[in-house]
């Protein structure tokens, strides 16, 4: 099971800050987004927004990163500190 994390408004849309998710045949971030969309259209759509970035195992990914069931995969909307 991969560990999914949702920050900011994505947490509200997902209804949880974190969730375990069996990847099965899913092996990239974009495939994961598609799989999530099948379960939850609203969340899948929000994750598809180009402003949403993905952090795998605490490292910012660029483009379509490979993922496995051991990974922690965080989705982050635009940040706003200060």
């Amino acid at each position: 099971m991969a560990r999914l994390m949702f920050f900011g408004k994505l947490g509200d849309i997902a209804g949880a800050r974190a969730r375990d998710f069996p990847l099965n045949n899913v092996d990239t971030v974009s495939a994961l987004k598609a799989a999530i969309f099948e379960n939850d259209n609203g969340l899948g759509e929000a994750l598809g927004d180009p402003s949403v970035r993905c952090i795998v195992n605490e490292e910012m990914t660029r483009g379509d990163a490979a993922i496995t069931d051991d990974d922690e995969i965080a989705f982050i909307p635009p940040v706003s500190g200060g």
Binding site: G8, I76, V79, G82
Partner: protein
């Protein structure tokens, strides 16, 4: 020193401690941001700030490191709140010490621009008419773009 705190901090005590430690450098600039009680015409009842433990601290550390690379500052303190904040409470404090004022001003200004647009925080505004996740304003991105180096 970088701290991300879940509970209120004493702004004045933090500034006093920084001055005691770093003030002899000659020039000290501090910036503090507090939760405002209104957003436009609407009353704000509080803020909720989320962070990504570990990743947030490293994102701030990267911003601080870049500021130290750009300016010969002698000391930097960054304190940032997370959790639930009430109007009037301090959210963020940046203290910079340097030999001359220009460096201290620019480094503090730089740190704030990137704490606003790159540090890993998410901010929800709690208002009488509901709650809203806040994205940086266009001006915040414009401010951060001022520091782009020609390289």
């Amino acid at each position: 020193m970088i701290r991300v705190l879940e509970t209120p901090f004493d702004l004045n005590a933090e500034i006093a401690a920084f001055n005691a430690r770093a003030g002899a450098a000659g020039a000290v600039v501090t910036f503090s941001g507090a939760v405002r009680g209104e957003a436009g015409e609407r009353k704000v009842t509080g803020l909720e700030l989320e962070h990504f433990p570990g990743v947030t601290e490293r994102s701030i550390s990267a911003i601080e490191k870049e500021a130290r690379r750009r300016w010969p500052v002698t000391d930097i303190d960054i304190v940032h709140r997370i959790g639930r904040l009430a109007p009037g409470e301090p959210i963020v404090l940046v203290c910079v010490a340097a030999a001359h004022r220009r460096e201290a001003f620019e480094a503090a200004d730089y740190l704030m621009d990137f704490l606003k647009t790159e540090a890993m925080f998410w901010k929800k505004e709690l208002r009488s008419d509901g709650a809203e996740w806040i994205a940086p304003r266009a001006d915040d991105y414009k401010d951060a773009a001022r520091w782009k180096e020609n390289d």
